[in-house]
Amino acid sequence: MKKILVVDDEENIRLLYKEELNDEGYQVEVAASAEEALEKIHSEKPDIITLDIKMPGMDGIELLDKLKKDNSNIPIILCSAYGRYKQDFRVWASNAYVVKSADLGELKVTIRDILKETSSN
């Protein structure tokens, strides 16, 4: 079973993602901040991370930067309430960018595709 780490500062979003992704057959871990995420990455070794951008403290893009610098190979999907970060060239280091929506269809498809790609490599 693939393990997903959901990083988001909003509790309800974390709960929503966790339940939906559980239903999809993934094991889901959550982190409420970038700092907590770093710990969870270390302890849980997830196969993929969904990462919110706008968070208090270290934000999602900074966390992405740090992980890339540390040569992490874990695929990262950036999730944001809106698309304006798409123009920030730093987001290009992520594997995908998904604009948050009540309809999680796009996110689920993206996760599946990336996991398929990485496991085939």
Binding site: E10, L16, Y82, G83, R84, K100, S101, A102
Partner: protein, 636 residues
């Protein structure tokens, strides 16, 4: 008989009279009186030549019936007096009537006079008059008498010269006064119509211009026509008389009257004004005399309109007079229009002196028109500035609003995702509830309630997307596109203009160029600005060369570039250094933001813009965009 000493006394007396007054008639009358009383004669007369020097009139006389003698008009060369005038020699006759040159004027009863002395009044080489002495007795005039009369003749010549100078200076003074009054009056108004009316009044006012009618035409630059603007003058001889009488009665407070009158705008209803305002002529050489006046910047004093080659048949018929004059209206060496004057009602010939005065009025009119034009332009610019300022404030407000709505939208988005997301879960969960619940009414309701929540959240999400797209932070919208497609779309917009200006397009694209991520609208804006500049500088046609190609950057990364070259002669160095400055422009209609917007957009796309200026040849603009923007780069 005149003794030597006596003759000297008479001459002294004449000189005293000559120097005592400037009024010519008075002087001549007094001189005649002296001659009559001090020399033993029975009649005397002073003839003066008219302006043309062809006819002579009696200006002062003694011993002749006054009323009748004033009406005598003597032709040069006719009779003894005419002979003296022509030959410029004195003649003394014992029996004048026996002389073959004698011409009899029965109305003055000359036949009773037998001996006659006639001397010419000479001004330089010109005979300007004759003095005649008559005696009833047949007898010789003595040599002292002849030389005395010649000396008196010289004195009279001096008087006439003085009187002419005086009259001339009086006229000049009047001209100056009227011109001064007009310019004062004109300065009291910035209203074009009022100023023009005042000037036309000056032209048609009795003492200075004194023309019967004056018409003013101005150039319409846009339509390239000469249009009638205003005309002043009576519609009939009766009205002319009434106006002249009124004007002469108002000589003192004339200017106040004119200024008040200008306000009343009564002239607008005159037939003449309405006719002139209906006139419009194309500014084409040879159209008619008005257009020629404007195009050739010449004044014309037309004496025979029907047979003048420049007047134009139709215009000659419509103007209804055979003699008129035109002068161009000038300001700052630029022709603004033309003034036409005529003497329709008194048929007076237009003298060159009058034309000179008219030219001065025309200069004033030129200033009035120019001032009014500048004033209007000032008002326009002012209102333009105000509206630009309002626009700026407006766009600042919009920007602030945009930022705020982006912020609000973001804050709303997260809870919305939760609401919508859980509503969807609810829908799913209900499906998996035990089947006996599904037939019950409450379950149906829960299904439809959660469906409503899901639909409404979808609607809100769509709404937020739209708000973010339009708000400032959301405007940049990048998508995958082929640079060349954008270039073709932009060129297409200028197709007609380039064809009209005879500009050839040369377009080359390197094969297999990757597509890149760009904001289509913004990059298209850059292209439009650059094409606009290139086409604008090639007024006489030329070549527009567009190339798209891959380049290697110094840092080793690949760039996708395009260049736009024109053959418009390049940019002068002092202008070139300013071209990226916001609000700097060489165009009449431009904000000066074009190139600075280009630079901003390109740098937001992590690109660079360079301009190569070849003075005498043209300008090439290079734009380099990093291939980091390419889709491939992003994916790999």
């Amino acid at each position: 008989m005149v003794e030597d000493g006596h003759g000297f006394e008479i001459l002294k007396e004449v000189m005293r009279i000559a120097n005592s007054t400037l009024d010519l008639h008075e002087t001549l009358d007094k001189i005649i009186q002296v001659i009559h009383s001090r020399m033993t004669i029975d009649a005397s007369a002073i003839y003066l030549a008219d302006e043309q020097g062809t006819h002579f009139h009696i200006m002062a006389s003694s011993g002749l019936p006054v009323e009748v003698s004033r009406s005598i008009k003597l032709e040069l060369g006719k009779g003894i007096t005419g002979w003296v005038a022509r030959e410029k020699k004195p003649v003394a006759l014992v029996d004048a009537m026996q002389d073959p040159r004698f011409v009899h004027f029965p109305e003055i009863g000359e036949e009773k006079f037998n001996s006659m002395l006639s001397v010419p009044i000479l001004k330089e080489d010109l005979c300007i008059g004759v003095i005649n002495l008559h005696r009833i007795d047949k007898g010789n005039f003595t040599t002292p008498e002849i030389s005395l009369l010649e000396s008196i003749g010289n004195q009279v010549a001096g008087c006439i010269r003085n009187a002419m100078l005086y009259t001339k200076s009086q006229i000049l003074l009047k001209e100056q006064t009227v011109l001064y009054e007009i310019s004062q009056a004109v300065q009291t108004t910035l209203k074009l119509e009022q100023g023009i009316w005042t000037i036309l009044s000056g032209i048609t006012m009795g003492e200075a211009g004194g023309f019967n009618r004056a018409m003013l035409f101005t150039i319409n630059d846009k339509a390239n026509t000469l249009n009638g603007m205003m005309a002043l003058g009576p519609d009939s001889p009766e009205e002319a008389n009434r106006i002249w009488t009124e004007l002469s009665q108002r000589s003192k407070e004339r200017m106040q009257w004119i200024i008040q009158e200008a306000d009343r705008k009564e002239y607008e209803n005159s037939r003449l004004n309405q006719w002139v305002r209906s006139l419009q002529f194309p500014l084409r050489a040879g159209e008619n005399i008005l257009v020629d006046t404007v195009l050739l910047k010449n004044s014309y004093n037309i004496k025979d309109a029907n047979n003048h080659p420049q007047v134009g048949e139709e215009f000659a018929r419509e103007i209804g007079v055979n003699a008129f004059a035109t002068v161009p209206l000038m300001a700052h060496k630029k022709v603004l229009g033309v003034i036409l004057v005529d003497n329709r009602y008194n048929n007076k010939a237009i003298a060159e002196e009058q034309l000179r005065l008219l030219t001065r009025f025309a200069t004033h009119a030129g200033w009035v028109i120019e001032n009014a034009r500048l004033f209007t332009r000032l008002l326009d610019t002012n209102s333009e500035l105000l509206s630009t300022k309002e626009q700026l404030i407006q766009s600042e407000k919009l920007a602030a609003l945009g930022e705020m709505s982006a912020e609000v939208a973001h804050e709303i988005k997260n809870p919305l995702v939760s609401i919508g997301g859980f509503a969807r879960r609810l829908q799913e969960k209900i499906k998996s509830l035990p089947s006996y619940y599904q037939n019950g009414e409450p379950v149906q309701k829960v299904v439809s309630y959660s469906k409503i929540i899901v639909q409404e959240v979808d609607r809100l999400e769509k709404l937020l997307e739209d708000i973010l797209f339009f708000s400032k932070t959301g405007t940049s919208h990048r998508e995958e596109c082929q640079l060349d497609e954008l270039i073709q779309e932009a060129i297409y917009l200028f197709k007609t203009e380039m064809r009209n200006k005879n500009i050839q397009v040369h377009h080359s694209v390197e094969e297999n160029l990757p597509s890149i991520f760009l904001d289509r609208q913004q990059v298209k804006q850059v292209l439009i600005n650059l094409f606009y500049n290139a086409i604008d500088c090639m007024r006489e046609g030329g070549d527009l060369t567009v190339a798209v190609f891959k380049t290697g950057h110094a840092s080793g990364q690949e760039m996708i570039s395009f260049s736009i070259s024109d053959t418009g002669g390049g940019i002068p160095p002092d202008i070139f250094k300013n071209i990226f400055n916001p609000f700097f422009t060489t165009k009449n209609q431009g904000t000066g933001l074009g190139l600075s917007i280009c630079r901003k957009i390109i740098s937001e796309h992590s690109g660079t813009i360079n301009i190569e200026n070849n003075i005498g040849r043209g300008v090439t603009v290079y734009i380099h965009l990093s291939l980091k923007n390419s889709v491939k780069y992003y994916k790999s």
